[in-house]
Amino acid sequence: MSVNENKVSQLIQKFQEGDKEAFDQLYVLFKPSLYAFLFRFTKDEQFCIDIVQDAFLKLHENVHRYDSNKASLKTYLFQIAYNLMINKLNRRKKWEKLIPFLIPRHSQTIHQDESLTIREAILQLSESHRAIIILSYYHEMTQNEISEVVGIPVGTVKSRLHHAINKLREFLEVDLHGQEKAK
């Protein structure tokens, strides 16, 4: 167990024993990575702030259900946030169909002749591929952890990761040997 994981389990124990400050420390510890995950996924600052706050509220309410033998707190928290985010995005899509002008506008159309930046390229990936590449590369999660967060089998994580990398290469116009394609 790493120093960080040791500290986290101590903080959870303290919180379960009634120390409220321990939960504040958990927030300080996990807020940056959770926000970064959500922001890379949606690129919508206010939406991400709302989800981070909702995820910590849910964790606060359900912390007694958390079992450190099943998953790390990071995986558990990311799973909560991912489910909240997907539910909210699906609800937003439904409303968008009914009343398009009441939904905040965030997506940008990218012309085919423009080469994409990494931010745009990640956003161009489908939601299922986007989550996997972000969790894998930026959050150093194993394929088992990703499968728990996203709720899919490990085999699917592997194939989606492979597909996501190929798509990113395509969007960024990077060839298999790591060279920029001639334009």
């Binding site: 970064a36 939904i103 506008r105 390229a121 894998s136 990398i165 990113l168 990077v174 298999l176």
Partner: protein, 87 residues
């Protein structure tokens, strides 16, 4: 093998893709743990939305119709009132 090495393994043949991914850093804003419904509402109201008249405005000549339509509607309503009084 540690997690970082394991995750970088799949990008081994792609130094340029790795460089692109590394360049994407996120600034973390300062916000409290507890949500404030009022600030959420303000955030929602202040966010940009689609223009419901966008399709209409894009049609040639429809901008003129759109801009004079309040005057036309006013004239029609006025005409109805005059008719009602005179009858």
């Amino acid at each position: 093998m540690d997690k970082k090495k394991q995750n970088e393994e799949f990008l081994k043949p792609d130094p340029l893709l790795k460089m692109h991914l590394d360049s994407y850093q996120v600034d973390i804003p300062d916000f409290p743990m507890k949500k404030n419904r009022f600030s959420r509402l303000i955030g929602y109201l202040a966010s940009p939305t689609n223009n419901p008249f966008e399709g209409y405005v894009n049609l040639s000549g429809s901008l003129v119709v759109l801009s004079v339509s309040p005057i036309l509607i006013g004239l029609v309503l006025m005409g109805i009132q005059i008719l009602r009084v005179s009858l």
